[in-house]
């Protein structure tokens, strides 16, 4: 598509410098190894393929979360959101979860979403923790503003981390933000943030080589469970 680059430059605000998230390897309860890594802008279309079908599952607010993730990643891909990042979780290359977030400014992070397609292995907990790790430890921010859209998310994040309620509006437009301060992050890190670095080169190479997207029927079953006789 031809761009009017003069106009485009006005629509693309300047981005803050963002250091990359160093990939890590997490051992899950079933003994399998999960790579947590940051994706590049070029990888967004592949991730969108995985997110698209989930936008129709009403259960546990998956539809809202997936629709918003879809829009946020698309906007990042097409330069309409700045300072966004997306971390994905892969097991043998297979995409099993993602988180996205952005820097509001140098000091404050704005947590967007957590989406997992494989339930029951605490992947969401690992991924949310990785997102906070990136904001505080690598992007060196002072605080992250967080809201939950699903009751499960609310219970998990607010209670697990003991987040501090504020009256600061959140970009997602719903409830006011809860805050994870740097102090709170370091107070809970031991309990909630795990992973080994560096990721062994062969495992990392496999993850980088291809983001495998699980078929729609399997995802539906993972999210909504089984049905019928």
């Amino acid at each position: 598509m031809p761009f009017d680059m003069e106009l485009e430059s006005k629509l693309r605000p300047p981005e803050l410098p963002m250091v990359p998230y160093p990939p890590k390897l997490v051992t899950l309860a079933n003994g399998r190894h999960m790579v947590v890594r940051e994706i590049t802008r070029d990888e967004v279309p592949r991730v969108l393929e995985a997110v698209r079908p989930i936008t129709t599952y009403e259960r546990d607010y998956y539809d809202i979360v997936a629709s918003r993730v879809y829009a946020e990643l698309l906007a990042w891909y097409r330069w309409r959101i700045v300072n966004e990042f997306c971390l994905i979780a892969q097991i043998d290359g297979m995409l099993v979860g993602l988180v996205n977030s952005r820097m509001l400014n140098a000091k404050t992070g704005m947590s967007l979403h957590t989406l997992t397609t494989d339930r029951g292995l605490r992947i969401g907990s690992h991924m949310f923790a990785a997102k906070m790790e990136h904001h505080i430890e690598y992007l060196n921010q002072e605080e992250v503003l967080i809201v939950a859209e699903s009751p499960i998310g609310f219970r998990r994040w607010m209670i697990e981390y003991g987040l501090e309620p504020t009256d600061i509006p959140h970009e997602l437009g719903g409830a006011p933000s809860y805050r994870l301060s740097k102090e709170l992050y370091y107070a809970t890190k031991d309990r909630l943030v795990v992973g080994d670095r560096p990721v062994p080169p062969d495992i990392l190479a496999q993850a980088l080589d291809e983001i495998i997207v699980v078929d729609e029927k399997t995802v539906a079953e993972k999210i909504c469970g089984v049905k019928g006789r």
Binding site: T27, L28, N30, S125, R155, G225, G228
Partner: protein, 395 residues
Amino acid sequence: MRPVAIVGAGMIPFGRRDDDNLMDLLAYASLNALDDAGLGDKGVDSVYVANMGAGMLNHQMSVASALVDRLSLMPAAAEAIENGPASGASAIKNGLLAVASGYYDVVLVVGGEKMRDVSGWRATDFVASMTHPTAEYIYGITLPGMAGMFTRLYMEKYGVTREHLVQVAIKNQEMGALNPYAHVESRITHEGIVDSWHSRVNNPPVADPLHLYDVCPVSDGAAAVILAPLDMAKKFKKTPVVIAGFGQATDTHSLQERQDPTDLKAVTLASQQALAMAKLTPSDISVAELHDAFTILEIAESEHVGFFPKGQGAQAVIDGKTKLGGQIPINVSGGLKARGHPVGATGVAQVVDLVWQLRHELPEGRQVKNAQTGLSVNFGGFGNNVVSFVLRRGE
């Protein structure tokens, strides 16, 4: 009293079943059992529905009346049985007595629960409502919390360690992974839940000293059996399984009022009654389904039933005595730990799994070779209402 046989058995996969409601679950499991019995379009004389929480969880009452309507079983007699997590076995017991008395011939017993209509913390609250309202419930005690307090005492008294509990969890999830009806499909590894420092996220404490993988999941599911007099059993197409014995006993509502809170008297009494009625001893049993809502309970029940002396159940797990191929295979289905624990369904599901074992219908890797006798323990409250069955393969 005439002898009674199980002539049909059916289950549906347990787990999260977001697209099915409670009546769907009960109807599907019932149809599976009716079809298994080869009843075709014939009716049954009476229906017993085991369910603990339809009123609180699904805002529906009189589920037995609704079910006979769904299944076109009118004018069969029908009623629901609520006896906490022992509802399933209680319903079978009531069906059994009705057939044994000669009053009814063909009885459908179905147990089901749809727990995931509500959030996890509502489900936790629902289960906690079994505790004493003013002496226990108000403190925020949960059933895992009860089990945690029990585990601490059991560890202190009998030297049970976290490692023993971990081995129960690994064994049962290993078997659950082979069971197409199990909620939990994943094996777990020692590395993933204990050794790796990542396990602090994977397997956090839930009710210290119990961790996440010591506790059964919150599940939707249903299971059903068809009962008939043994002398009618040859009219049905499957090998009959005789209910050779049953027992039921109760204990104090509050754990703290038991002389020795580590002594699960109702388990001992119920299983002794069942074994005595069947004229068997624990060593005669080929396969057992014990109520492992928490890993500690599998160990404790294995001792209270008499498979092992008190204090030796934990070592028996380490020695592989409770595995498939061991001295007494326990929870080859994966147990509540892996099959899941839809509270009203569990007692029936345990019996269905034993029926499959005794008919020798399970694939290699799950079938206990030449299984002739099975024992179940369905544990209500925290051991305040326990029902046990002894089943025997029929001719």
